[in-house]
Each structure stands twice: as structure tokens, then as C-alpha cells.
Amino acid sequence: MTGRITLPAILINAALILFALTTIFPMIWVIYNSLKSTAAFSESIFALPSDPTFRAYVQIFEVGTVWTAMWNSLFYAVASTTLIVLLSYCIAYVLARFEFPGRAAVFSFFILGLLLPIPALLVPVFMQYRTIGILDTQFTLLIPYTAFGLSLAVFLMEGYIRKIPVELDEAAHVDGASLFTVMFVIVFPICRPIVATVALLSFLHSWNEFAFATTLIRDESYKPIPLWLRTFGGQYATDYPALMAGMVLASVPIIVLFIFFREKIVEGFAGGAVKA
């Protein structure tokens, strides 16, 4: 705000705003074109809908497969987020507070997950699941979604717990609190901000995940929303407004979360990456 109004300043601002518009415009374009009829879309792909219609959405809901996919995605996202928060908090607390043989190894083991090229694990994980016989179940995707969320979660939580004075835990312990009470009644509530960040990132990742879903799930009744969108996009490749409505439906929860919690989400991504 304090910068003087000079020509370079105007040019730089204009260029940056133009750039920022190119990052958000495609999604806005998708949203308003999803409200057009196919005829209106082919007339002009740029114009705002003159006669908005929910035809595409009605059509998608009538077919109905989207409900199953949304429910599945919600289940995978909520369940894996809960598991990630719980498991990573236990691990992070122990790593941050106690010295024990193997501590460094456990820490490195979890950090490794941040550097692994995860799609390379698709085929090996598929082989293992096929051998055990756990492909295509309601819980199949929960395991990889939880596992891959753990690395980042352990990392963020461990750093946060380290900054809480250990004297707090010790005072509670002296007063007769058990380890369990110290962890979950005393320290966990203090960790609320980082728990929120971890929960948001986990939810986003699980809701959006596609690679493991397409590898491990064949059964329609367990397909999450990205997998549904890919199938739907293949079937409706020429009905552009319908495809766009599908894209909007797959993104609504994510966009809503981003609007309300953008600071926390950005912070989590930045913090996680810097530690990697």
C-alpha cells in the first residue's frame, strides 16, 4: 500500500493480476458453462449463460451413480482423516516427548513417505492386495489413504508438540495424571490448530485421490467421486455442459473448505513442503 504509483508498479500489478486470473478463470468458466444448454454452449463458449438451466445437474442426479460416489468419497475422506489424526498424534507425541532406542529410525521411516514416488507403489500395492484378497471392499482405500497421510501429519504434529513446554506434561504427571490423560486431556486440546490443519489436508487428499482408486477398485459400489468423474467424462465427452456439471459436483466440498479455511490450508501446504 505504501508503494509509490509508478509505471513499473502499475505494470507489475497488472501482470500479476492477469496471471492470477488465468489461475482462477478456467474453473469459473467451467462453473458458468455448466449452467448452459448444449446448444447455448456451442453458440459461444465465452458468453455467460443467457438462459441458465440446471438441466445438466438434473440429468446427473437422475442417473444417480453420483450419489454412491459422493457417499463413498465422504466415507473415505472422513474415516481416513479421523484415523490420520488419531494415529499421527500418538506417534508425534511419543516422538516429540521421549527418548528411546529406535526413535530416529521411526522418524525417518515416516519422513520417507514424503519423498517416495507414490504412483510407483501402485503395482506393488495391487499385487499385495490381490494376494491377501482385499481388493474391492468398502475399506480397501482406507488403508493407503491413511498411510500416505501419516507422513505429513506426523511431521507437522511433531514440530508443533515440540514447541509446547514439556513442564506442562510433567506438572500434570506429578499431580497424578496418567500418560493417557496427559496426552489426550492436557496436550491434545492445545494442539487444536495443528489438528485442524492436518484434518483439512487429509480430507482434501482423500477426497481428491484417483490413482489408488482406479488401481484397487473395480466394483461400482465402492468408487469414489474422482473415479466416477472419469467414467462420466468418458461417457459424456461431447455433452460439455454435463461434463462441466460433473466437475463442479466433484469440487464443491473442496472449494467450500478452501473458501472458509484458505489460510490454514495454505499454511499446511507450505509448512509440510518446507519440512520435506
Binding site: 500479476l16 514416488p117 507403489l121 503395482v123 506393488p124 499385487m127 484417483f210 467421486i225 478452501f258 513442503a273
Partner: protein, 297 residues
């Protein structure tokens, strides 16, 4: 940290660690071991026969494998040039007080990061569509119709088209990384340079850049490991085609396994990617620590 008076038994500690280790190890560690094991066999009609290192010998001489790996390196190189560098420049500009709406810019540029790769892939399918696409129509509208291309169907340019989509989606991640790096550097050094009459350019090169060395290392490591992680976008946008022209290694492993039913070879490629990625990342971190970063945190 020194042991404290408040120290639970080793058993109690491991009881808290165990559930996480089992879940995580079962998806990260045992598949890697299993994958390596299967890579030592040959698959014929879903039967496995011991083959020793034959798959690795085949991989070494497999031109298709090297071609798909080359695609990963094209993506990595272009993201370092366009994604990391642009993000750095934008971050420095946003930090310079010249910019009027930094919060809006950051939020807008970061926005695509949170979208599902399947959604953004369809966004770019629609942008690149030959007839109804945003890009070809825009070119025509501004009188540059001659530049229209079959963005996703021309084997010569398809790898660059998909790279544009990737750069677009994840540039915001690199932006927030540099912004958080910048917020941690010593503001006094910048003010001192201003007092001494340094230009914006001089400030950036001589004062800001050296203090951001470790942030650069993070960004480069991320670009390299990210470039070897590419799978979903290309899977959805082109399926790796036309032909092999936009196939990356992870998809090559996938199609060898699921389309050719050669799971042993698919596992071999998977193991090779993991080894390659970890080696490259370690080398990058080592090189940065050795040659660039002076003050390690």
C-alpha cells in the same frame, strides 16, 4: 532431548507407535519388498517363474522405458524453469510492497493446488479441445488463429501441453513455499541494502537470493520428486498417448502390468522409479548442502 523424570516404559511407547507403523508399513514397506520379490520372476499367463535379474537386464535395454523417463525429465526441467523460477519472482515481487493485493494474488494462484487432478485434467481437456476449447477459440478471437494446434493429439507437442497443465496447477505450491521462506529472512539486511542504495534487482540477487538457498533446495527437491510422481494428470488427459508420446514412467509401469498383464516387469519398473527418485533427491540435497547452503538451520 534429555530423558525426563516422566518417562513411560518402552512397551508403552511402542504400543502408541505400533498402529501407525503397521498401517503405514503395510502400504509403503511390504509392497516395496514384495515388488522387488516379484521383479525377480517372469509372468506368463499369471504364472510366476524365477528369472533372477532378467527383468532388470531387459529394463536396461528397453528403449520405451528410457523414452518415458525422458518425458519425466522434460517435465522436471520445464517445471524448474517455469514453475519454480516464476514462483520465486512472483514471491519476491509480492514481498516488495509494490503489489497492491498480495492476499488475493496468493489465494488465487494457490487455488488450483487444492483441486482434484481428475478435475484439473478435465479443465485442460476442455482448454485444449480442438474445436470447442478455450485456447483455440481465444487464439481465433484475438486474431492468432494461425497458432491453433491439436494440443493433446499432436505427438510432437503433447508432452509440453500436459506440462503446461501441471505447471498451472502447482505453481501456487511453490509460491507459498517461497513466501514462507521470504517471511523468515532477516528484514534488516534488506533495509540496510536499501539505505546503501541497492536497486530492486541488486537486492534480489545479492541479499534475498543467498538467504533463500535452503528454500530453493526444498523447491528443487519437490520439483524433482514431483516430476517422478506424475501419473494421474496424464492418465486422464491423454492416457499417455498418442502412442507413447506423453507416457511417463509411472504410467509405463501401470500399463505393462494392467494392459500387458506383465506384473513382474511392472514391478521392476516400479522398483527402478523408487530407487531413481530417492537417489536423485539425496543427490540434490547433498549438492545443495555441500555447495550452496552456508548456514544450515
Amino acid at each position: 532431548m534429555a530423558p525426563r523424570a516422566f518417562q513411560p516404559s518402552t512397551i508403552a511407547i511402542w504400543l502408541f507407535l505400533l498402529p501407525g507403523i503397521v498401517v503405514y508399513g503395510g502400504v509403503v514397506l511390504t509392497p516395496l519388498i514384495g515388488g522387488f520379490y516379484y521383479s525377480l520372476f517372469e509372468t506368463k499367463n499369471f504364472q510366476f517363474h524365477w528369472a533372477g535379474l532378467a527383468n532388470y537386464v531387459r529394463l536396461w535395454g528397453d528403449g520405451d522405458f528410457w523414452f518415458t523417463l525422458r518425458n519425466n525429465f522434460i517435465i522436471i526441467l520445464l517445471s524448474v524453469i517455469f514453475q519454480v523460477t516464476t514462483a520465486f519472482i512472483i514471491a519476491v515481487l509480492m514481498n516488495s510492497r509494490l503489489v497492491i493485493a498480495p492476499k488475493f494474488l496468493r489465494t488465487a494462484i494457490f487455488f488450483p493446488v487444492i483441486l482434484s487432478p481428475v478435475v484439473t485434467s478435465f479443465v485442460w481437456i476442455l482448454v485444449f479441445d480442438i474445436n470447442s476449447g478455450l485456447l483455440n477459440n481465444t487464439l481465433e478471437a484475438i486474431g492468432l488463429g494461425g497458432l491453433q494446434q491439436k494440443w493433446l493429439d499432436d505427438p510432437k507437442i503433447v508432452i509440453y501441453s500436459v506440462t503446461v497443465a501441471l505447471v498451472w496447477q502447482y505453481i501456487g505450491l511453490f509460491l507459498v513455499i517461497f513466501l514462507s521462506g521470504l517471511s523468515a529472512i532477516n528484514q534488516e539486511t534488506i533495509e540496510a541494502a536499501e539505505v546503501d542504495g541497492a536497486s530492486t534487482f541488486q537486492k534480489t540477487i545479492y541479499v534475498i537470493f543467498p538467504q533463500l538457498a535452503s528454500t530453493w533446495s526444498v523447491a528443487i527437491v519437490l520439483a524433482i520428486s514431483g516430476g517422478l510422481k506424475i501419473f494421474e494428470h496424464i492418465f486422464v488427459m491423454t492416457g499417455g498417448g498418442p502412442g507413447l508420446s506423453s507416457t511417463v514412467v509411472a504410467q509405463y509401469a501401470y500399463s505393462q502390468s494392467f494392459l500387458r498383464a506383465n506384473f513382474s516387469y511392472g514391478n521392476t519398473i516400479a522398483i527402478a522409479i523408487v530407487v531413481l527418485s530417492l537417489t536423485l533427491v539425496s543427490l540434490t540435497i547433498w549438492a545443495f548442502n555441500r555447495f550452496v547452503v552456508k548456514d544450515r538451520i
